[in-house]
């Protein structure tokens, strides 16, 4: 490699063949392989092949690092030598200054008396936010790591941490073992706490993160995550455990597994399971405020017009007013659907099995088989006529139902209906609109006595614009929409070529007989349902409004959901207003306002405020705010969140969080975008 040719370009070259000296002056550039050295004056000594650069120089190294120095003595091939006053810029992010540096084989390898930082250092802000001073730094070119000896970490110029040895990956490295940014949290539940995650690369397809979580009031916890990628699947195990036994002496924590595996010909196995030590742990240590933990194992296969799923589901309740032994355990839940064409008619066959047991309370097993036909014809004046019918049979086996005791029942259900649609279109260059009146005449029938079968899965009935033109509006199969009913409504959609769009739906359901299995307050009771009113308006590609409401006979609103979203480069606003009249599932009115505002003040500052307010009891449910400041080398994030509700025997608490993320030590997503702000500008 030594005989690599060297190219030299300069304004003047003078040669003194007696002394063997070649002197290049004026905008001198010397190139060898990928190394480029630029200076104003350079002396190349023919006799020993040495290149000495008396004045300031810059070297663009093979690995992309740009190095500035006061002077240097290098070998002819620019590969090795001593560089004085070296200042290197690695991957355009990390700046390193050293009083002297040794370059071996074209790579900056040893630096002495070093200051390293990824912050832009200019006259107006000479003190970088963070910097690391070290006696000596060795740069490992193969592992792309920087090893610091006797390093002092400085924040705003003040030494805050001394480390005899410290290592970090080069900025270009996006996956290397090492410490991640620390997190400082304070919470009403566990007091003051620090998290210092360590990311550990096992091999190309496996890595893990271990995070000591030191709290002032509950001692030390350890979080661990393990991720593995297979050729046809992936698995993620995560868990937390208290190390020293707290007051009650037992170990607390959780362990969860999330993963999938393709077993071949599109059959996929999935796991999403969590084991908990106690009900309050997740909420108390800020992991989640859920009131139910669902664990599911499933097999599934999805094709273009068919699928089957087979799963078992374990619900673990964290609710204070519910004991685990009354919670059902589903084993199995099976669903099979296939649709195909019979000439002009679309046909579907389906089957499902649901079997669950409880320690205390009702167990139930149900098998259903069904088939349906659906045919649409377009008549000449533009009327779209659709006929549909389906029939299914259920086999029920109920044990220790509190009212009915044991029940074994066979039931058949059927629906038959006609749908009339007459869409009209109005075409103008700037707007195209479609108005579509829809009428569905449906008859539902079922055999046997509906009261014999307990209603387990059809309690939570929903009536809105998405179920207005549906047949059988019960979510499950334990209940069925029978007798004659007519869904009458109107759909409207308009769009401008630029994409501004309005959609609207209005309608009502008329019944021959009231159906008492519809829960009161669902809007479907009586012979005439509530009015469904829904509209969506994308004002611009930044602002969108959507509303959905139910109004009773005298047009007073029984339910309203209104959402306004706005987002541009600097401001994002999400507001949701909900009003729900009392119904059987929730015996009290509910009214809530949810607001989330994010605002970017400038390149550095970003603020976020969010709250959820219970308008009926006129107080807050939760509120949070976050402020982050970031530039090309560091991001500070301060967050505060408060939950005002008492839940799972955890009283209202406020959490503060402070995170400091350093850029330039391995790839940092956003900080890298605000790269070097050149000085003064």
């Amino acid at each position: 490699q030594q005989n690599d040719r060297v190219a030299l370009v300069a304004d003047r070259i003078s040669i003194d063949s007696n002394t063997g000296a070649l002197i290049a002056e004026g905008d001198v550039t010397i190139i060898r392989g990928d190394t480029v050295l630029q200076t104003d004056r350079l002396i190349y000594d023919e006799t020993d092949g040495a290149v000495s650069v008396p004045g300031t120089l810059t070297i663009q190294q093979a690995d992309g690092a740009v190095l500035h120095a006061d002077y240097a003595d290098l070998d002819g091939g620019l590969q090795s030598g001593i560089i004085a006053g070296a200042r290197a810029l690695i991957d355009n992010q990390l700046q390193i200054a050293a009083t002297s540096a040794q370059q071996i084989d074209g790579r900056l390898t040893v630096l002495n008396r070093v200051v390293a930082s990824s912050c832009t250092i200019c006259e107006e802000n000479p003190v970088p936010i963070w910097s690391i001073r070290a006696e000596r730094v060795v740069r490992d070119a193969d592992a792309l790591q920087f090893h610091y000896e006797n390093a002092v970490f400085e924040l705003f110029g003040v030494p805050v941490l001394y480390l005899p040895y410290f290592r970090h990956p080069e900025p270009s490295v996006d996956r290397a073992s090492g410490f991640l940014s620390p997190e400082i949290i304070s919470s009403g539940n566990f007091g003051f706490a620090v998290k210092l995650p360590y990311f550990f690369v096992i091999d190309d397809s496996r890595d893990a993160t271990i995070t000591p979580f030191l709290t002032s009031e509950d001692g030390l916890l350890v979080e661990a995550e393990y991720r593995q990628r297979f050729e046809r699947g992936a698995l993620e195990l995560s868990g937390v455990s208290t190390l020293d036994t707290d007051t009650s002496g037992d170990q607390r924590g959780y362990l969860s597994a999330l993963g999938y595996y393709d077993l071949g010909n599109d059959v996929i196995a999935r796991i999403d399971a969590t084991a908990l030590s106690d009900d309050a742990f997740l909420d108390e240590f800020n992991y989640s405020d859920t009131d139910l933990v669902t664990s599911e194992l499933s097999l599934e296969k999805f094709e273009r017009s068919a699928f089957w799923t087979l799963s078992t589901i374990y619900f673990e309740t964290l609710r204070t007013n519910q004991t685990q032994d009354t919670v059902p355990f589903i084993l199995p839940a099976v669903e099979y659907r296939r649709s195909f064409d019979l000439g002009g008619t679309r046909a579907e066959v389906n089957a499902d099995i649901l079997s669950f047991t409880r320690e205390v309370g009702r167990d139930m097993s149900r098998a259903t088989v069904g088939a349906g036909l659906d045919r649409t014809i377009v008549t000449s004046p533009g009327l779209v006529l659709r006929g549909f019918a389906d029939i299914s049979g259920d086999l029920y086996s109920v044990r220790n139902d509190p009212i009915r005791g044991d029940v074994d029942e066979v039931r058949t259900r059927s629906t038959a209906g006609l749908e009339f649609r007459m869409p009209f279109v109005r075409r103008t260059p700037e707007l195209t609109q479609i108005i579509e009146p829809i009428l569905q005449l449906v008859h539902g029938a079922q055999s046997g006595n509906i009261g014999d079968i307990p209603n387990e899965d059809s309690v939570l009935v929903e009536f809105d614009e998405t179920s207005l033109f549906s047949t059988n509006r019960f979510p499950g199969e334990d209940r069925f929409e029978t007798d004659f009913y007519a869904n009458l409504g109107l759909r409207y959609e308009s769009i401008t070529p630029s994409g501004r769009n309005i959609t609207a739906t209005v309608g009502r359901v008329f019944r021959s007989e009231p159906l008492d299995s519809f829960p009161t307050g669902s809007g479907l009771e009586g012979k005439k349902s509530d009015y469904v009113l829904a509209a969506g308006y994308d004002v611009t590609d930044r602002l969108s409004i959507s509303a959905s409401a139910l109004a009773d006979n005298d047009l007073s609103l029984t339910r309203t959901e209104l959402e306004v979203d706005y987002a541009d480069d600097d401001l994002s606003l999400e507001t949701t207003y909900v009003f729900l009249e009392a119904d059987t599932t929730t015996p009290v009115d509910r009214a809530e306002l949810l607001v989330d505002v994010g605002y970017r003040l400038n390149d550095n500052w970003f603020g976020e405020i969010g709250f959820r307010r219970d308008l009926r009891n006129d107080d807050f449910i939760s509120a949070d705010a976050a402020l982050s400041w970031g530039n090309e080398c560091a991001t500070f994030e301060f967050s505060v969140s408060r939950s005002f509700t008492t839940s799972n025997n955890v009283d209202p608490s406020t959490e503060f969080g402070l995170t400091l993320r350093l850029a330039g030590l391995g790839t940092q997503g956003d900080a890298a975008q605000r790269r070097l702000r050149s000085c003064g500008i």
């Binding site: 030594q2 005989n3 690599d4 040719r5 060297v6 190219a7 030299l8 370009v9 300069a10 304004d11 003047r12 070259i13 003078s14 040669i15 003194d16 063949s17 007696n18 063997g20 070649l22 290049a24 060898r32 023919e46 006799t47 020993d48 092949g49 040495a50 070998d75 002819g76 091939g77």
Partner: protein, 140 residues
Amino acid sequence: QAEQPFSTFQHDSSQPLEIVSDRLGISQAAQTAEFVGNVEVIQGTLTMRAQQMTVTYDQSSGDIRQLIATGDVLLSSGSEAAEGQRANYNVDTGFLVMEGDVLLTQGQSALSAQSMRINLNEGTGEFSGRVRTVFVPQSQ
């Protein structure tokens, strides 16, 4: 020890200076002679070729004082060669100046510049005008 550039570009002023060309025109008044067509000047190991050369003589001794060559000028000496469009060789001072896309080649090394100024007595030289050179570094 590799050869240094220009080490061979030295002229031995004791050697006779011999000029050959297709045609020759002499102007007594200006004391000059104009050689035209495949002109070649030889002095010891140093030779210079050009399309046209104007030589000025010393009035009394008749020695050649200056040579001005134009058109594909080539100066060579054993292993080294320098070519350019124009050259001015002042025999008394030993200075030779070559201009116009000068290209110096020596073994594996080559050097290009707009102008080259060599002191043939001391073997030193200077190039200017965006000089470009490629050479093989010494193994340390």
